[in-house]
Symmetry: C2
Subunit: 299 residues, 2 copies
Amino acid sequence: MPKLVECVPNFSEGRRPEVIEAIADEVRKVAGVKLLDVKPDASHNRVVVTFVGEPQAVKQAAFNCCQKAAELIDMEKHHGEHPRIGATDVIPFIPVKDVTMEECVALANELAAEIADKLEIPVYLYEEAARIPTRRALPDIRRGQYEGLKEEIAKPERKPDYGPARMHPSAGATVVGARQFLIAYNINLDTDDVSIAKKIANCIREAKGGFKYVRAMGISVNVRGRDVAQVTINMVNYQGTPLFRVFETVKNEAARYGVNVIGSEIIGLTPLQALLDVAEYYLRLDGFERTQVFEETLS
Amino acid sequence: MPKLVECVPNFSEGRRPEVIEAIADEVRKVAGVKLLDVKPDASHNRVVVTFVGEPQAVKQAAFNCCQKAAELIDMEKHHGEHPRIGATDVIPFIPVKDVTMEECVALANELAAEIADKLEIPVYLYEEAARIPTRRALPDIRRGQYEGLKEEIAKPERKPDYGPARMHPSAGATVVGARQFLIAYNINLDTDDVSIAKKIANCIREAKGGFKYVRAMGISVNVRGRDVAQVTINMVNYQGTPLFRVFETVKNEAARYGVNVIGSEIIGLTPLQALLDVAEYYLRLDGFERTQVFEETLS
């Protein structure tokens, strides 16, 4: 079974289809990498590209895209609503299968060194790959955007982790890093009282003393014609804080208000492991191995 | 995503490695089929071969194996402890992914017709493919074994579903059919009192008024040096009777005796869907689709 890493780089071009296609083609050309999605946004003037494959192949595809973006995008002429610092704005690696976070951090370092050496683009490391606590969060690295960073990059506190302490004349700077797969998860309550959802969100979110890897809010949504209070959640590390623990906590806290959980929903994709962990927890499975999943014997 | 069918034919040869290899090679030769296991048993003088792939490719591999077995195995000279009626004793098709039971029954009929026409071997249809209720269970079809069936095959009640009403002179007869994936599932109780496990087994097994697709017994097992009572279960149709329902029922019935469930274990393989159903149930997932599993986007 091959190791799998996902990569979701963002490039500062969302309007010229030929540039977007040229970047996507760099992914298509690399053997062992599968292009999953290309999502341009014209008002942001930005494209999000998603691909997956074995670690070294994914790194190669990421480098090739970054090189192509440096050729075709001139940050001096770039305008868009989304904050950005370079032609390739950010490249996160995400462990998907049989890969540790440490391996993704190492991959980020290899790629950062290659971009700095071969393309002479300054590179910052973020999230799990960050070497400096203030560089964990992307907005902190992006402070002042391309234009502001150009002025400040020579200052010691903004010195890049790899490459020259000056912006590339057209491609700017790039952020490379590693992060967990983010699962968008919502839990619907049997009430239209949003204040209850807000209180429960505060029980589970890290910022209010809740789970470390949970971001949550209470909102009102319409489910099949009925207004219901929803706890809307970003699970930023499903291994550190598993789905079942959040679900059970929300269920218990809701009971405190005499409210039931109607149901929950996963928005978009989830790694298989997050759901296997749920089955393992509730069935109290003993000694279960992922290799016992029939379909896993086929890959 | 390709459709996947598993096939687990049993052949009446467990001693001559060259014959076993020749049969296994017939599977290896078919493109689109993956050989998963070859398990010979010398005392049974029988081999169980497991492979998986797209429906038509799996049928082709099954036919080729059956033809090879008819060439190399002479039932007139076969002796072994396991009941059998032919060189290829039984061929079950098992739906694994994106395939219905109806499709597997159709596949069984196609294969049965081909074996009858091209090899002149009489074929009986069993389990989900059975046309006659008394032919659902394999032991009923195998009554009298090769030697007995040879005498009785001309009788109306033993007329094969496909092919001549006489045994093939060396290959005998064959049984073809379709069945669900069987999950071997055990639940361990926090007691050494086997009588409680036996009572709970009786609550859940079909024969005693329990779930239709559950076979269960209460036994004593040693778990990490401690004797515990176990409900040992064959889940013969995990879609008809899901794992979570059996687990919850055992948990509730155990509570009736003041006993907790320590844990459960899946022995060997399980289709992924059986575990996804567990996660979906406990998280009360709304509108969940299997295509939301990240790894599924890769196949």
